[in-house]
């Protein structure tokens, strides 16, 4: 390249102060000392006689103790006509008090100690969490055990929880992003799949206190619980307290992994939910993806990073920075632990550029194979994953949380150290092969937004199925 004399002079002038101060003017010129050796903290794993798995990781920096229990269950096991059972059950286990402490008294007890116990249902697991100051931990742990073992399910609190769930259903079409995510899942997993269905007024209205009691009796057994403890405790002492609280709890019937149905074939086409009170179209497209145990999982991690992992990634740079089409744009192939995750690309854009944005997303998806990842892109993505690797275990709470998840889904407990080695070994060819997992021809495209004012008709992208956003029906009979 030929430079003019003035350009060279300018370059020299600019370089001067930098040289004088001995500081870098380019990030590439910086040299870093090696990162101090820092091993991944390993929680201790103990199995109680009744089969309950306990994981402990001491952390004495702050006077806090936190416990998390993962319990086999989840909303995917709800009966079809009682969607919401696990969610209400989990919530009311905590808010409804225990056999030794009434519901309001339990709230008073915890909050006066600035402690918290919460129970929640996710799709594929239940989670109970405790947080307490060190001094209060032994007492709060006993209450925690009571919540798990002997909940009272105060009927009054069931009505409060039901009221909240009903309000959510009534509001479920108010926020376009939430509406989009729900309908996309429904299309991908199928409307009848426990992964696609949603709570309704009818399903919530059917759930009685007896249902919660039965649900608890069938679900909660010590051999279906993994309890993790992180914080300022002493191992022997904590184990003794855990044994006291849970040791006499008899084992339950053998656990059988559920067979949860979902749609295995792709659902190509377009789905449209008309919403006229917004100024953007909210768009999501994709299909079913795979499992974390799949052999190309690590190649997909690298692919996700170069596709949408940063502002410099393909998707964000092209759709947001270069074309200015959106503030929100993101996409990845999510791998599930025990059931397939979703491959999805999301954008929200002004109504007038709906078609342009769908085109842009489809182009990005096709380009993953048409202009396959280069060696440079792959190297950069790997470098990002590896140099930020330490953030996977920089706090003990995170380490423990991950170990609980691995234990729950039956993944090897040294998964994290394997991860580093595996990412190091990913080749460009493997990333290119993984990119073929994204199949634009199979995309379900879901659009939420105004009916008028788009730049292209949605029929451009396939047969359009309208999504019925019926206004909320009257509240179901309750009490």
């Amino acid at each position: 390249m030929i430079r003019t004399a003035s350009q060279l002079l300018l370059a020299a002038v600019l370089a001067l102060p930098a040289a004088a101060a001995a500081q870098a003017t380019r990030a590439e010129d910086l040299r870093y000392p090696p990162l101090p050796r820092f091993d991944i903290p390993q929680p201790e794993r103990v199995v109680l006689d009744n089969g309950m798995v306990v994981m402990l990781l001491e952390d004495h920096e702050l006077p806090l103790v936190e416990a998390t229990a993962l319990i086999r269950g989840g909303s995917r096991l709800d009966p079809a006509d009682k969607a919401g059972l696990a969610s209400l059950g989990a919530g009311v286990m905590r808010t409804g008090g225990t056999q030794s402490m009434a519901s309001d008294a339990l709230d008073d007890y915890l909050e006066s100690r600035a402690a918290a116990i919460e129970v929640r249902a996710q799709d594929d697991h239940l989670q109970a969490a405790l947080s307490a100051l060190k001094a209060d931990f032994p007492a709060v742990l006993r209450v925690f055990a009571d919540v798990l073992r002997r909940p009272a399910f105060d009927a009054r609190k069931l009505e409060v929880a039901r009221n909240q769930a009903i309000a959510e259903v009534a509001r479920q079409n108010d926020e376009p992003g939430q509406l989009l995510a729900r309908e996309f899942k429904k299309v991908v997993y199928g409307p009848d799949s426990p992964y696609g269905r949603t709570e309704t007024f009818a399903s919530l209205g059917k759930i009685r206190r007896d249902d919660l009691v039965a649900w608890h009796r069938e679900t909660f057994h010590p051999d279906r619980i993994i309890l993790g403890l992180a914080g300022d405790f002493q191992r022997d002492e904590a184990l003794r307290q855990i044994r006291e609280a849970f040791g006499d709890w008899p084992q339950g019937p053998a656990w059988k992994a559920p067979d949860v149905p979902y749609r295995k074939q792709p659902s190509p086409g377009v789905w449209f939910a008309r919403k006229d009170d917004v100024t953007q179209s909210f768009i999501m497209m994709g299909h079913l993806a795979g499992l974390r145990s799949d052999p190309d999982f690590y190649a997909l991690e690298v692919l996700n990073q170069l596709f949408s992992g940063s502002f410099a990634s393909r998707l964000v740079n092209d759709v947001r920075t270069r074309k200015g089409l959106a503030y929100g744009v993101q996409g990845q192939l999510d791998s599930g632990y025990d059931h397939p995750g979703m491959a999805w690309i999301f954008v929200s854009t002004k109504t007038q550029t709906t078609g342009a944005s769908i085109d842009a997303l489809l182009e990005e998806a096709r380009n993953l194979t048409a202009q396959p990842p280069t060696d440079e892109e792959v190297a950069k993505a790997k470098q990002s994953l590896l140099s930020s690797f330490v953030f996977n275990y920089d706090t003990r709470r995170e380490v423990l949380a991950r170990q609980l998840t691995l234990e729950y889904f039956g993944y090897p407990l040294d998964w994290l150290s394997r991860y580093r080695t595996a990412v190091e070994g990913v080749t460009t060819d493997q990333v290119r092969a993984a990119a073929r997992r994204l199949r634009p021809e199979d995309f379900a495209i879901v659009v939420v937004g105004p009916a008028q004012g788009t730049d292209k008709p949605l029929t451009t992208y396939g047969k359009v199925t309208p999504i019925d956003l019926a206004p909320p029906a009257p509240a179901p009979g309750k009490k």
Binding site: S6, A27, Y32, L62, E111, A114, Q164, I467
Partner: protein, 509 residues
């Protein structure tokens, strides 16, 4: 004392904690002893906390600059600058800065010419078209010099996580975390962008910000309600302006506006950076001096003059909307640095924190009128007199009026009767525990320290504040409730469901 490098170890906190919470004092001692403040000659303040629990560190830079600095015509500019702070410098993000500089100057001249015609009383359509075409050509030329996303790319490649920024009414925050061996990279990148930011891709990014406005304000029921509410609550103070900016302004702000805003507002003395993690002040400080010391001191702009006059009439905003009802009510209160702030926070706690709170027990548990009630203060900013507000989500089939009546009863009770001993004990215990919990994350701690330094001029206020909460009395709560909860001091905003206007399914557009 030599002002060049005022570095002091602060052990004072220990004493504060000994008085307020002996348990916490012991366990927090390590934080206090390892905290150093370092002020550069140009006025930039650094707070360094040595916390070698893992080989990582986080930082937060807080600029004492926000949308309150904007005047009509340039609303949204503080936030726009925040986006531009990721676009690089003469050293980052360009293939050839000398060439790019010329291209950017030409681009700006073309934009100004087009805009002058566009805003003329009678724009000439032909001329407009020609000027726009010229602008687009220049935009293409300038784009040719850009190394896309290089600023972010460097951070990501070197292992940075959690990179983001936020703009509020009176502060702008920039933050991320890096592996501990990359402090020099942080010093280089962070000093670069506040030394000589380059506003490349300005007009492309303006489109991105307009999409952000459509997404977060126009397309969310709460976004629509809050924008109307805020503009009603403040008559004179710039707090009434949306931080995201008005559409007309977003369509008109220029690169020149951004450059002027940066030069005037982003003076080093208005910047504070807190760094928390596996860092060593002794080795870090020379690096900070070297990189951040490059930035010349500039005079701070004069303080904001407008003071919100006392409200004399109740204001009510009713937004008819396709969404389900939502209720918001707010009262004017002093700036968050006022001694009564602790009392407002105590009121918050008693009214709406947790399942023991009065509003939960009354509105959610017993009367079943609401499914969620939150109160908060410091809206939309903290530096100037601001609002204490309650947001209630009515239960299905319940009107805003029913919620309002029940809510007012609780506010009235606070004026007339003392809160209980249990309530007093609870908020005091909770505030101490919350402080301890907030220390868990490097990033959270860095943000808090920088924020307290910006607001109070002393990061130690974060810890002293617990002491002030501890001193709040029942009489304080009654007094403040009486002062604040008056009808003429109130703004109400209601989102009312327009009947028969729920979104209907139809065939494709």
């Amino acid at each position: 004392m030599n002002r060049n490098s005022v570095t002091c170890a602060l052990a004072l906190l220990l004493l504060v904690f000994a008085a307020a919470a002996p348990l916490a004092a012991q366990d927090l001692a390590s934080f206090e002893a390892k905290t150093k403040v370092h002020v550069l000659q140009n006025g930039w303040t650094f707070i360094i906390v040595e916390r070698p629990t893992a080989p990582v560190f986080s930082f937060a830079t807080v600029a004492d600059v926000g949308s309150a600095q904007e005047v009509p015509g340039i609303t949204g500019l503080a936030h726009m600058f925040e986006h531009m702070a990721f676009k690089g410098t003469p050293n980052i993000g360009t293939r050839d800065f000398a060439g790019e500089k010329k291209a950017l100057d030409a681009l700006e001249a073309a934009y100004q010419a087009w805009q002058a015609e566009r805003l003329a009383p009678q724009p000439d359509a032909k001329k407009l078209e020609r000027l726009l075409a010229d602008f687009k050509t220049k935009q293409q030329t300038a784009a040719g010099f850009v190394v896309k996303g290089e600023f972010d790319d460097i951070i990501t490649r070197e292992g940075g996580v959690g990179m983001n920024a936020s703009t509020g009414a009176d502060e702008t925050r920039y933050f991320y975390s890096l592996p501990a061996n990359k402090v020099e990279l942080f010093a280089f990148l962070e000093s670069e962008r506040f030394f000589h930011p380059v506003f490349r891709e300005f007009y492309e990014e303006r489109d991105v910000v307009m999409e952000e406005r459509r997404m977060s304000t126009e397309s969310q029921p709460i976004g629509r309600l809050v924008e109307q509410f805020t503009s009603a609550a403040f008559a004179a103070h710039p707090y009434h302006q949306p931080a995201i900016g008005y559409t007309s302004d977003l369509q008109s702000i220029t690169m020149t506006d951004a450059e002027r805003f940066f030069q005037t507002e982003y003076v080093p003395s208005r910047l504070t950076t807190a760094i928390v993690g596996d860092v060593h002040a002794e080795t870090l400080i020379p690096i900070l001096d070297q990189y951040f010391g490059r930035i010349p001191a500039r005079p701070a702009p004069p303080p904001l003059r407008t003071v919100e006059p006392p409200q004399v009439a109740e204001k009510t905003v009713v937004l008819e909307d396709a969404s389900q009802p939502m209720y918001l009510e707010a009262y004017h209160k002093p700036a968050s640095t006022h001694p009564d702030q602790a009392v407002y926070d105590a009121i918050d706690d008693v009214l709406s924190t947790g399942r023991t709170s009065r509003l939960y027990r009354s509105l959610v548990r017993d009367k079943k009128l609401a499914v969620d009630v939150e109160s908060f203060s410091g809206y939309p900013g903290e530096k100037y007199p601001n609002l204490w507000a309650i947001l209630a989500v009515p239960a299905f089939g319940v009107s805003n009026q029913q919620v309002q009546t029940a809510l007012r009863e609780e506010l009235e009770k606070l004026k007339g009767q003392d809160v209980t001993d249990e309530e007093m004990a609870r908020f005091k215990a909770r505030s101490k525990a919350n402080l301890i919990r907030s220390l868990r994350s490097n990033q959270g701690l860095a943000s808090q320290l920088a924020e307290y330094q910006r607001l109070y001029g002393d990061w130690r206020e974060l810890f002293r504040y617990i002491d002030r909460l501890d001193k709040v009395t029942k009489a304080d709560i009654r007094r403040v409730a009486g002062e604040a909860f008056r009808s003429e001091n109130r703004t109400v905003a209601m989102l009312v469901n327009k009947p028969g206007d729920a979104p209907q399914a139809r065939t494709q557009p």
